[in-house]
Amino acid sequence: MAEIRIKNVAKNFGSYQALHDINLTIADQEFMVLLGASGCGKSTLLRIIAGLETATTGEVWISGRRVDHLSPKDRGISMVFQNYAVFPHLTVFENIGFGLRMQKLPDDEVKRRVERTAGLMHIEQLLKRYSGELSGGQRQRVAVARALAMEPDVILMDEPLSNLDALLRMEMRAELKGVLAESRTTAIYVTHDQVEAMSMADRISVMHQGKIVQAASPIEVYRDPAAEFVASFIGNPPMNFLPAEAAGSGRWTVAGQSFEGPANGKDLKWAIRPEDLRIADQGFGARAKVVEPLGAHLLVTCDVEGHQFRAVLDSELSVKPGDVLTLAPQEGRGRWFDPETTLSVA
């Protein structure tokens, strides 16, 4: 049972607070993705779990054991480093087998595991080379193979596929997910690529400025963002926002349209995903500004009462800049946010 509990973890670097009161539980065998913009504290959190960084306050528990005082090697984890940390003086084989050698496993077992994980990462032909002779992407795969070869209970991965080309990355994504599910490994996976996050995660923790804003399943993060930040970070293009004026008894006026919403006294923001809009007889009057044909869809950036508003429409439509479209939201897809707290309002 490799469950990870992070309780009230905060981290200061001098006067700069990189992490604020993080609370997170990652279930046994769960694939948790930490998603956030550059500099939001993903690596710092991962390194605290690994024991490479000490939390200023808070506790880390792995498999029901408090591990704060344990050194990384006693935590039952294995890790892929953001900067790879592949040893330059060892061959690829010895790099992947490094941890196994430290455990004093017999040679044939080391060989078996190294060859298996190298095969998974498609680097079996590189085993005799030194890492200095490898490309960045090859080196990164050595780092992943080295972590997998340990067959750990918990694997921590810091942007492990960031340096691969799109095709290889897609392939490795599936490969990695499959291997980890098969070996029942609990995984924490750091990325700032939301497609990667959506496609791999059991749950996504969205981080922003050292806080976890939302930790939920990919579809929930996408459908019901807990805060404006999540709504504008997840989804490509992100959600549209329009100001909503209270019209009394749970009715709201958004850009001239009347909607049913929360029974709330204050002004709110209304949000809709661009892909949840369609052309209708009744709806927002939107003047098209930029039209981008993306093949599968047509991305139209419009102006609704002075607010930028994007719609993903059918690629067969012919829309020109300057056209005025009438856009209606799909039933039940609008969301409400409190502009003061930026949190979602039900």
Partner: protein
């Protein structure tokens, strides 16, 4: 200027300097060593090698190097690791440890002579503590091993820092992330030292050892101060040929022998600590 020629142009001053102050004197020494009135000959070499003091001074020089260099290597590695691990006061400690570097080797020899002499600190202390009744003559023919020990101590004290400085710089160049990875993958502190630090330190170890071993074969002033004629070494013999016996040819021949020994050891060290082909460090 053509880009192809520029590098040569830039190293020209250094090359001229080296030719003038190194190659030219070297040629003169070689000429002196190999030349007599009747042209090229090995007479000078024959003379120095068959002299009764040659095997002893050769043996002493090697013995001293063999005793001192490994200890210095271990010590400087230990000290460099300690300094690197320090959070505060690191520079201060490093400065203090490198003070002996600023002292000339003769002065260092005299400092240690002041300790070991019959009227020196060590004797005063032992008498003061009642360990011995009378000051003893420590550096004498009767106790050659004390002489050897005193020279060893002085050499270790004097010349460990030169390796230390090189190794500290070398360790500082090893990225921290390798230790983090080693930590995660279960390497103990000792394993990190043998599997990460030592292999990645090979270029610095090469430099430090080559420098130190060459210096060990050139040991002179410390030995002269502490051992005098009790402990003859190669450099002392060169000095004796040149200034006591006024035999420049023999001195030059012996100097060339020392040079050859130094070159051989340099090659051995470079080969032993070479980085495998393809591994970048």
């Amino acid at each position: 200027m053509e880009a192809r020629l520029l590098p040569y142009f830039l190293i020209l001053p250094v090359t001229l300097f080296l030719c003038l102050f190194f190659l030219y004197p070297f040629a003169l020494v070689a000429q002196q060593a190999f030349g007599t009135e009747n042209g090229f000959s090995l007479d000078n070499f024959r003379e120095v090698v068959t002299y009764w003091k040659f095997p002893i001074s050769m043996k002493n020089t090697f013995l001293l190097a063999a005793a001192v260099v490994p200890i210095q290597l271990a010590l400087s590695l230990l000290m460099a690791t300690m300094v690197t691990k320090m959070q505060k006061g690191r520079d201060l400690v490093l400065y203090i440890w490198t003070i002996p570097l600023g002292i000339s080797d003769l002065a260092a020899g005299i400092i240690w002579l002041a300790i070991f002499e019959q009227s020196g600190f060590l004797n005063s202390m032992m008498v003061g503590l009642g360990v011995t009744e009378q000051p003893m003559s420590l550096l004498s023919y009767q106790t050659p091993w004390v002489v050897f020990l005193a020279i060893m101590l002085a050499e270790i004290w004097r010349a460990t820092a030169i390796m230390l400085v090189i190794l500290v710089a070398g360790i500082g160049l090893i990225p921290k992330e390798y230790y983090e990875a080693a930590d995660v993958f279960g390497a103990s502190r000792w394993k990190q030292f043998t599997r990460i630090t030592l292999p990645l330190l090979r270029p610095s170890l090469q430099t430090a050892l080559v420098l130190r071993v060459i210096l060990a074969f050139e040991v002179f002033a410390v030995v002269a101060a502490l051992g005098g004629t009790i402990f003859p070494v190669l450099m002392g013999e060169i000095y004796a040929y040149q200034f006591d016996l006024q035999n420049g040819g023999a001195a030059a021949a012996l100097a060339i022998i020392v040079l050859i020994i130094s070159i051989v050891f340099t090659l051995i060290i470079i080969r032993a600590l070479r980085v495998p082909k393809g591994a970048t460090i």
